[in-house]
């Protein structure tokens, strides 16, 4: 449904930023965590996850770096930048206000 898609588009960034706020992660880990923590409700397609990461990186909200451990394939880890932290805080406030308004009108409570 198109409103689903719009909601997901809008929430993709805050999902990624909040997971990176906990610690540095690579792309596959982010996709897995989002699916696990949402009990399968939210799934990130490769074709949308990586473009979102690159967009966030271009805007300076996250920063990627290659990490190589012996015997393993190199992996690209992302971390939250100071700008990203500000954006995350702002987005959390916006989403929180949004859900409060939804609740007042349509009696929808966030979990």
């Amino acid at each position: 449904m198109s409103h689903d898609r719009e909601l997901r588009k809008g929430s993709a960034e805050v999902l990624i930023l909040s997971l990176l706020d906990e610690r540095d992660r690579h792309g596959y880990e982010l996709a897995k965590l989002i699916e696990q923590r949402s009990d399968g409700a939210l799934k990130f397609h490769v074709a949308s996850l990586y473009p979102t990461l690159y967009r966030l990186e271009r805007r300076g909200l996250i920063q990627g770096r290659w990490v190589e451990k012996s015997g393993q394939r190199r992996k690209r880890f992302y971390r939250l930048t100071a700008g990203g932290q500000k954006m995350l805080a702002s987005q959390r406030r916006s989403w929180s206000a949004f859900f409060s308004a939804l609740n007042r009108v349509a009696r929808i409570r966030p979990a």
Binding site: H26, G27, Y28, A31, H45, V46, A47, S48, Y50, P51, T52, Y54, R55, R58, W66, E68, R73, R74, K75, R76
Partner: protein, 894 residues
């Protein structure tokens, strides 16, 4: 284990907007994601083939992922769409320009590098062109200036100059020559204007009534001096220059018709000249009629400037032929004064500015080289970008663009860059020109007129178009060879790109080497010149000048009294060690040559020797610490009515008494004035030579006479030198006060430490040496940037090869050596070509050199070492980068 990268590449459309390294990283990251998913599936018990399919399932839509990634990886804003095909050529140009600007906005780093490089090259050329235009190219402000010629006199071995004619010769030319519609004469003259609040000394000229009609410049106000003004009797008249009219008379338009007091007589101001008018050079600020002020001037008093206007139909050659015949007649009629003298005609403007041409040509060549180096650097930058836009070119060809359009697009991009660079360069040149006008040497004529005017802007536009088109040639050639779509998006041959880059670097190094050699030669020359001992001690010496004018100083006696009082008063001041007078300050005044004879020797007519005549006080040699080699200097006993004595310099002793002692010999002046020529002068001493005409000129024979026995009344100017205990300038005010007490109407001028006078004597050389060295450094810096970029690209191209080498055991040091050797090879070829080029260009520099040969082995070696060092330094960072390549990363990328 599946080859994930190949599988990813097969399922994702080419990421055409990205460069190769970025594309490789993205493929790697996607491969990592898919590999992790696969591993989880296999760990969960899924069969390997199923696990592969499920892991790759999200990559079913190749175009979608490429599109999303390209969109995400692009900066915000729409991707520049290549201009559509079809339409008029103006429409094409407009679209190409807009497209080029969009591309530059997307690559600000590249744009900044290219614009700064071009701004430096174009700005330097605009600045030097504006100087050349002001000094040489702008026509002088005379009517039909190509018809105005100067008379330049010289004897065998001498250099013809503009101040070389005599009044009697001029009068004969005026009477006899028919090739000229008019001939005029001017003699430099110092005026004291005493009708102002404070007396002002102004350097000007006395001219014949025919001079202003010969030049033909209409005045700004009033009229010029006419033949009627030059007759004896009647009002004295003066024409003011624009600068002195503004400075001393506040630009008062009512000045015409009013008198000013000069030389104790009122001179009526009859006109004011326009701002650009100068004759012959910037230092002459006003013109008065000669009238009878120079009556009786002898035929060998050769210090005046004569110009003529050719009649319609006469040519320089025909006039020269007629003048040669007249010169022969005068030589026969006046052998004493005219034998051996030749008179050459030259364009009046050329005669004044001709001596500046060698230096200006050298500077123009230097900035031309800088521009070529800048163009080579930008060409390398454009080539690198062309490689990353190969897919765009291929696609455009596929959708119908002609190769000509691609070439036009390349040229437009280059010209857009150079236009922006040119605008910045013009701004920089404007600033540089202000500095040149403010701090440039005073003896380069018309330097103060340097400005960014319409012709200079036109030149800037021409240079900008050239600087845009030249670097675009290589990428345009690339575009012509763009492959068609059916051949795929193959890489352009990287060896081809490397080869062009290498050739450009060799050219840059050759040009930088040539400039480095030129810079080293002029610097060595300047160092040698300033190391020449002047022959006198100028430490703590304050120099100053007075010009003693009527009515108070018509007689020689009154001038002598002033000088004696001045020396006594100054010497008695606390803070003054010694004071002395000299008629011509060494290195600060032109010399005054006088013919003489030696008792007991005969000279053929016209072969009479000539020596500089210098009237000095007894304290002069001691004040300037000029050693007396033999005999004695002067003392207070050498008075006006005593035995006439002189001291000669070593150059005079060597020339005329090479094997004997000149002490006791006698000379007679041969001025043509009997009252000065009769008395014999006994030589009582020989002093060391000093550099009076210039540090680069040998000392002429000179005769010093005590000013108390001074012979020639028209030498009314006097310089003083005062040795102080402390800083010379600290005594300036006190000294000025003391001299004003003697006569408040005699202005003191050109008061300056003698060290400053010495520095000023080499100011023009310092100026052009400094500029050539600046441009050489600029060229080296640009060349180093070019080497850095080219070697960096070469390293990036070979990162896999380097990784493989290191994996096979090559050390980091070995890799660094390989890179530096590559840079060294290019630099060596460039230096060799540069040495060859500099053998040609150094020849052109020889008139600017002093005691340095154009082919100087040590200079070539030094310049080569500097260029090699710059190349090695530029290659160091790419070499370090190469040696820190991780072989595993590179090999995994295979």
């Amino acid at each position: 284990m599946p080859d994930w990268k190949s599988l990813i590449r097969a399922r994702v459309a080419p990421l055409s907007e990205l460069d190769a390294a970025r594309e490789a990283d993205i493929v790697d990251e996607l491969a990592q994601h898919v590999a992790e998913h696969y591993a989880e599936l296999v760990a969960a018990g899924i069969a390997e083939s199923d696990a592969v399919n499920r892991a790759l399932a999200p990559l079913q839509d190749p175009a979608r992922i490429a599109r999303e990634i390209a969109r995400a990886d692009r900066p915000r804003g729409a991707a520049p769409v290549p201009p559509p095909q079809g339409g008029s050529w103006i429409g094409h140009v407009g679209r190409d320009v807009r497209y080029a600007l969009r591309l530059l906005r997307r690559a600000p780093g590249f744009a900044a590098a290219a614009v700064v490089t071009l701004a430096l090259g174009i700005g330097a050329n605009v600045a030097i062109f504006s100087v050349v235009r002001a000094v040489v190219l702008k026509p002088p402000p005379y009517r039909d200036p190509s018809r105005v010629v100067a008379f330049l006199n010289s004897r065998a071995g001498g250099t013809p100059t503009i101040y070389s004619s005599s009044l009697p010769d001029y009068e004969d030319w005026k009477r006899q020559l028919v090739s000229f519609e008019s001939i005029g004469l001017m003699s430099g003259w110092t005026f004291n204007i005493t009708s102002l609040e404070l007396p002002e000394r102004v350097f000007g000229a006395r001219v014949t009534g025919s001079l202003f009609p010969t030049l033909g410049t209409p005045p700004l106000l009033g009229r010029g001096i006419e033949p009627a003004d030059d007759q004896p009797g009647g009002d004295e008249v003066v024409v003011l220059g624009y600068a002195v009219w503004q400075r001393l008379f506040a630009g008062d338009r009512g000045i015409v018709g009013r008198p000013v007091m000069m030389e104790g007589r009122p001179h009526i101001v009859i006109g004011v000249m326009p701002p650009r008018f100068r004759f012959p050079m910037d230092d002459v600020e006003l013109w008065a009629a000669i009238k009878d002020n120079m009556t009786g001037m002898p035929r060998n008093g050769r210090f005046m400037n004569v110009v003529g206007r050719l009649k319609a139909g006469a040519t320089l050659a025909s006039a020269q032929a007629e003048l040669d015949a007249t010169t022969a007649q005068l030589e026969a009629a006046y052998p004493e004064t005219n034998k051996g003298w030749r008179v050459r005609l030259a364009g009046a403007h050329e005669a004044v500015v001709g001596s500046t041409k060698p230096a200006l040509i050298a500077l123009a060549g230097a900035v031309g080289f800088v521009l070529l180096i800048a163009c080579a650097n930008v060409s390398n930058l454009l080539l690198a970008r062309a490689s990353s836009r190969r897919r765009e070119s291929t696609i455009r060809l596929a959708v119908g663009a002609s190769r000509g359009r691609l070439v036009a697009q390349c040229l437009t991009e280059g010209i857009v860059l150079s236009t922006i660079g040119g605008a910045c360069g013009i701004a920089a040149a404007y600033g540089a020109i202000q500095a040149v006008v403010a701090f440039g040497p005073a003896d380069i004529p018309r330097l103060g007129e340097t400005a960014v005017d319409v012709p200079v802007l036109g030149f800037a536009l021409f240079v900008a178009v050239l600087a845009g088109a030249l670097p675009s040639l290589a990428p345009a050639m690339r575009a012509l060879r763009a492959s068609s779509l059916k051949d795929g998006f193959g890489d352009y041959s990287t060896t081809g790109r490397s080869r062009v880059g290498a050739i450009l670097i060799v050219c840059e190094v050759a040009l930088a080497m040539t400039l480095a050699v030129a810079g080293a030669l002029v610097l060595k020359s300047f160092a040698r010149l300033t190391a020449v001992p002047p022959g006198f001690n100028s430490e703590r010496i304050l120099s100053l000048k007075v010009f003693l004018t009527p009515p108070g100083y018509r007689s020689v006696a009154s001038a002598k009294q002033y000088i004696g009082s001045a020396i006594a008063r100054m010497a008695s001041l606390p803070g003054v060690e010694a004071a002395a007078a000299i008629s011509q300050l060494p290195l600060g005044d032109p010399s005054s040559g006088q013919p003489f004879t030696i008792e007991g020797r005969t000279f053929a007519p016209g072969e009479r020797p000539n020596a500089d005549y210098r009237a000095i006080s007894a304290s002069y040699f001691e004040t300037l610490r000029i050693p007396v080699r033999r005999g004695r200097g002067f003392s207070e006993d050498d008075r006006e009515n005593g035995a006439m004595v002189v001291v000669v310099n070593e150059a005079m002793a060597r020339r005329f008494w090479p094997n004997e002692d000149p002490i006791g010999r006698r000379i007679h002046w041969a001025t043509g004035y009997p009252q000065f020529d009769t008395a014999p002068h006994t030589i009582v001493g020989v002093v060391a030579d000093i550099k009076s005409a210039g540090l680069d000129k040998p000392e002429r024979p000179a005769v010093y006479a005590p000013y108390t026995q001074r012979a020639f009344p028209w030498l009314r100017w006097s310089s003083f030198v005062v040795r102080t205990h402390g800083e010379p300038e600290s005594m300036a005010r006190l000294i000025r006060q003391e001299l004003t007490k003697i006569d408040p109407l005699q202005p003191i001028y050109q008061m300056a430490p003698l060290d400053d006078v010495l520095a000023q004597s080499v100011a023009a050389r310092r100026f052009h040496t400094g500029l050539i060295d600046l441009f050489a450094l600029l060229a080296l810096a640009l060349c180093a940037v070019g080497v850095y970029g080219t070697i960096g690209y070469w390293v990036a191209e070979r990162s896999r090869e380097i990784g493989v080498r290191m994996a096979l055991g090559a050390t980091a040091r070995g890799i660094r050596t390989m890179v530096v050797a590559r840079a060294g090879a290019l630099t060596t070829v460039g230096v060799a070509v540069g040495i060859g080029l500099s053998l040609v260009t150094s020849r052109l520099l020889s008139s600017l050199l002093f005691e340095v040969q154009p082919f100087d082995a040590s200079t070539l070696a030094t310049a080569s070492a500097v260029v090699f060092a710059a190349g090695a330094a530029a290659a160091y960072v790419p070499a370090r980068r190469a040696s820190s390549v991780d072989p595993l990363t590179v090999i995994r990328g295979e």
